[in-house]
Amino acid sequence: SQRVGEWLRSQHCKMVKDVTLGQHILIEGYDEDNPYVAKVTRLYGDENGQQMKAVVQWFMRVSELPVNKLKLLGREPHPQEIFYYECRNCDNEVNVESILRPVKHLDSNDPFPDSSDKDTLYVKLSWDSKVFGVVNSTVMESPAEPAPASSPPSSTPRGPSRRVLPTPDHAIMQKASLGEVGCSSVGTPANVEAESLHSATKLSASKCLSAKRRNATARTPGVRKRLELSSECSHKDFKMQPLCRTREQQGFLYISNTKSPEVENEKSPMVTETPRSSKRKSAMVVSSRIKKQLNLLENDQDLNSSGEEEDEFVPSKNDLLSSSEEEGQDEDGPNIDDQVSAKKFRYVATGSGNSRSKRKSYSSARTQRRTPAKKISPGTPKTPRHATPSIPIRSLQTQQPANILEEARARLHVSSVPESLPCREQEFQDIYSFVESKIIDNTGGCMYISGVPGTGKTATVHEVIRCLQHAADMDEIPSFHFIEINGMKMTDPHQAYVQILQKLTGQKATPDHAAVLLEKRFSNLAPRKETIVMLVDELDLLWTRKQNVMYNLFDWPTRRHARLVVLTIANTMDLPERIMINRVASRLGLTRMSFQPYSFKQLQEIIMSRLNKLKAFEEDALQLVSRKVAALSGDARRCLDICRRATEICEHSAADPSSTGLVGMSHVMEALNEMFSSAYITAIRCASTQEQLFLRAAIAEFRRLGLEEATFQQVFVQHQALCRIEGLRPIGVSEGLAVCQRLGACRLLLLEPSHLGVLQHIRLNVSQDDIFYALKAD
């Protein structure tokens, strides 16, 4: 292949810069300042030799990493640092024309030098789109394989095998392989045999992968969801604490002990970590001895290690083969150093990985506050100030619910994330399969979701994303990036660009510049991208006169390389027809879904599932609430709010605060009255005599005129007449105006601006019947 490279170089040396195999090069991307970094692993031309291609191994710049994942690094990234990118499903073929120039790079052992030479880059860690790992030199040579070709995926059931995994030898293997490959020097060109062998294995591996995917899709997501939600943790490893379970734990601990959730927080990552480090220690001791038996063991190990360690590092058969071949050429001396340093880094990397999982599972835990809240990547020097958005920490511990009613109230609060979303299974499944299929096929698409407020649109999408994220963590589907924007949470539709760019790359830009950058990003060939799932909430607010924001949002997914899935949410079902011009509506497509308002049964189920067997409500009371809300709006938020208010009323009405009974019909009725009855009638009853007279005068004048509107002057004449009838002293014009203004301020009357004085027109804002009813009952 060296010869081929020479030949190709001679062919194209005019347009291609000096590129040799194994060299690090820059490849043009959408950002001129930070071109992509990659290493050439193979060069070839197509049949007629016109188009030159290069197979590359990608590296990530700091600025390309997702901002939220930078925290996992545990330290400030060096601006020139790059990360070895281990991703299975990225296109690693580029046109030679896109190569800009070669760059220098230093490998993992050297410390960061002080010099800020722009062309020198440093590889320290690898990045597999989830966690950082230590780079090992074998994988630096040839792209990592997702799974060894020899392991049939069907024969090893994934979840359980990981649990019973004989871990020590796995760790040892890993160490050993690290040590093994450490001796091969970093920049040397790969040899021809390894290369060709590799491509053969790659083929079979990709076949395996696709078979696995098919398996994954064959299981219906709905079933999977239910499985995940109901079962405690059977299929989850210790690293990924299932969300629902921790919630339950917390909920349970509320009652028993206020301190313990925190203790749990501190402890659990430690518990999960210790066995591993001990494994590592033992691995260190025996690694040198085992090294020689490596080739015998490797098949076993590969079979077993397809679990969670896989995303950190999996030595493929091929890698090991090539490295063992090279082993003989190098001496053993530097080998051990290499190994130790690699170990150190590995420790750091796994540690941060743990902290990530901890953060994920205990998203509400206090520990989160202590981590540096937001790091601005050094690639974007535009942010002048490093202000951290945060709310001060409270000085006193929150008090936990003391009795059943308080507990019920906490659970019924809209903000408490439910363990599952009942009554939206069908919608969940539709959205899930839509997004999943797009992610697996590496394509893009749009979906429009409509429904009145409070029908669980956003919650369902979040639930879908949560499940998909979990599936991605379990390597059932390729990983993806989720971003969310909300039309209401921006000041101007064009800010959507800024927010999308910021969430994708962490860059800050003006709306116009952001639009340009995004356009470039989505239209250019950018092989290392993950699928992006974007949720656009309150879509109707992104409407502009030219509709270019909406147009772009729906146009990007149709680009060939965009890999963008856009889920849009709005209230009206016919929004595309009503406000979108044809070319926008056409791009949105016809994948639509509408969320119907909840029926009373569903509302009841929602409350029941939230209460989760907590006996706080009478059966009838719940039914009353759900029927009432279902009849009016079907808004689940309203339903929960009413229930919450009912618990309060129940608590207050009880004579003895400690012995409160269940929330009954009467309490619910009171809450319903409070929330649904309009205050107009009470307001009229509570108004002063003159105000009541004025309302009557207004009605009398309207009757006389046969209109629903009169000037103050006309009403005032009636008012004075009424005063005389009632035996009151007639009031002056100023006082009359004051009375009128007071009624206008409460909006019992609708008034024109007050500077018109006696000429202002008056209308009633309540029906005449209401007024009569209110005044008659007196």
Partner: protein, 434 residues
């Protein structure tokens, strides 16, 4: 007088009067909160519980306090906040942000004000940097970072809540309510408004996020309670330094409240409006008439104060007009009678005035057209007459259509009181037809 002075051994009368003025003025200007809000105990309890839960349990809430002007909405809220701050658990656990729809007229200024009051990290000194979009993103990010158990609860008080609903897209309200309904930093949103239909102003998605708690402050006060309130408002506390003076003052107030004429005046006030702000206004006027020479409130003071309160402002303005201007007003009144309120112009008024001069006038003589015009313009400046909407400025001033903004009763009242009004003018005004 001297006798009284002699008996007041420890405090001179002047000192006492100053003390009385100070105590009562603080009360009437609503600078001093009452110890317990009266007549709104249930609402007080509801609000206190609600805010306490936010402070102690970190439960997000939203609530609207609705009631007519002067019903004591802000007083209630202030009382609740005062009592809440007294509690040990709450004291340092509640951040407060006070906004007013009259001050923060758009979301941009409102956001800056919130950021400033919360002392977020993009505040330097008293200035908030960054664009509107940045501020919004920053605040939302800050609130999102928080969580129920660890971050400090924030209380947002939105005075004149209805004005916030007129902001573009209701972005601020949406975001506040959204935070209050999601697992972010605990916040309580308290809106204060006098509009009963405030919920109809909210957009449906904003409305859905609001918890629909409304605390109505509608006083079902009757007259005896009202009288009692007057009495308590006027009487001095036991802590008054000069016990003797306080006793006498309180006795004086009691007799005042039992007086028939006083009761009648108060009844009239009560009929007109039940709110305490207008009552305080009345009592303030009484109080200002108290002096060393007259150390009690007499019924006459109250009558006088009431007369001032009910005085008709526009009718008073008529007293300052010249005879010519008054004649024009009367001519306008006749025109209104004849044409049933149709608009008029200067020519019509002048003709009417000339007819009057021809027929009856003894004391008046004819004025030049420019003089009449000047008088007419003066009436317009005083806004006793105003141009009809939509009449364009292109029309010559003589022919511009006008309307009278006075009621006929006001004109007649003013004529009665007008000093040295010529009798023929009076008669002209009284006569049914000019």
């Amino acid at each position: 007088m001297s006798k009284r002075k002699a008996r007041d051994a420890h405090l001179p009368i002047g000192e006492c009067i100053t003390q009385v003025q100070q105590i009562l003025r603080e009360r009437f200007c609503e600078r001093l909160l009452p110890d317990r809000p009266e007549g709104v105990e249930a609402q007080y309890k509801h609000l206190l519980e609600l805010l306490r839960r936010t402070a102690i349990h970190g439960e997000s809430n939203s609530v609207l306090i609705v009631g007519p002007r002067g019903a004591g909405k802000t007083m209630l809220l202030q009382c609740v906040l005062r009592d809440l701050q007294k509690e040990e658990k709450v004291q340092k656990n509640l951040l407060q942000v006070h906004l007013s729809g009259l001050l923060q007229t758009d979301d941009r200024t409102a956001l800056k004000e919130i950021t400033r009051q919360l002392h977020l990290e993009n505040v330097v000194g008293d200035k908030v940097f960054g664009s509107f979009a940045e501020n919004l993103a920053f605040l939302l990010e800050a609130l999102k970072k928080g969580n129920r158990s660890s971050s400090c609860p924030v209380l947002f008080v939105l005075d004149e809540f209805d004005l916030f609903a007129h902001h573009k897209n209701q972005t601020l309200l949406y975001n506040l309510f959204d935070v209050s309904q999601s697992a972010q930093a605990p916040i309580a949103v308290v809106g204060v408004t006098c509009r009963l239909d405030v919920l109809e102003l909210l957009e449906k998605r904003v409305k859905s996020r609001f918890s629909h708690r409304q605390i109505h402050l509608l006083s079902s006060l009757n007259f005896t309670q009202y009288l009692e309130r007057v009495w308590t408002q006027l009487s001095l506390p036991d802590s008054f330094p000069d016990k003797k003076f306080a006793q006498e003052w309180n006795a004086g107030v009691k007799t005042l409240c039992e007086d028939k004429s006083v009761e009648e005046v108060l009844q009239r006030h009560f009929n007109s409006s039940k709110d305490f702000r207008s009552l305080h206004m009345l009592l303030m006027l009484c109080l200002s008439r108290v002096s060393v020479a007259k150390p009690t409130i007499k019924p006459a003071d109250l009558l006088e104060a009431s007369r001032m309160c009910f005085a008709d402002a526009t009718a008073n303005m008529l007293h300052g007009l010249s005879i010519l201007e008054l004649c024009l007003v009367i001519a306008i009144k006749h025109l209104n009678d004849v044409y049933e309120g149709e608009p008029f112009n200067l020519q019509m008024v002048h003709n009417e005035f000339k007819k009057f001069l021809h027929r009856k006038s003894n004391s008046m003589y004819n004025f030049e057209q420019p003089v009449v015009m000047k008088a007419f313009e003066h009436l317009q400046q005083l806004e006793l007459i105003r141009p009809v909407d939509g009449s364009s400025a292109k029309v010559q001033r003589e022919y511009q259509l006008m309307r009278l903004t006075l009621d006929h009763s006001q004109i007649m009242d003013a004529l009665q009181k007008y000093p040295q009004c010529p009798t023929d003018v009076k008669q002209w005004a009284m006569s049914a037809f000019g």
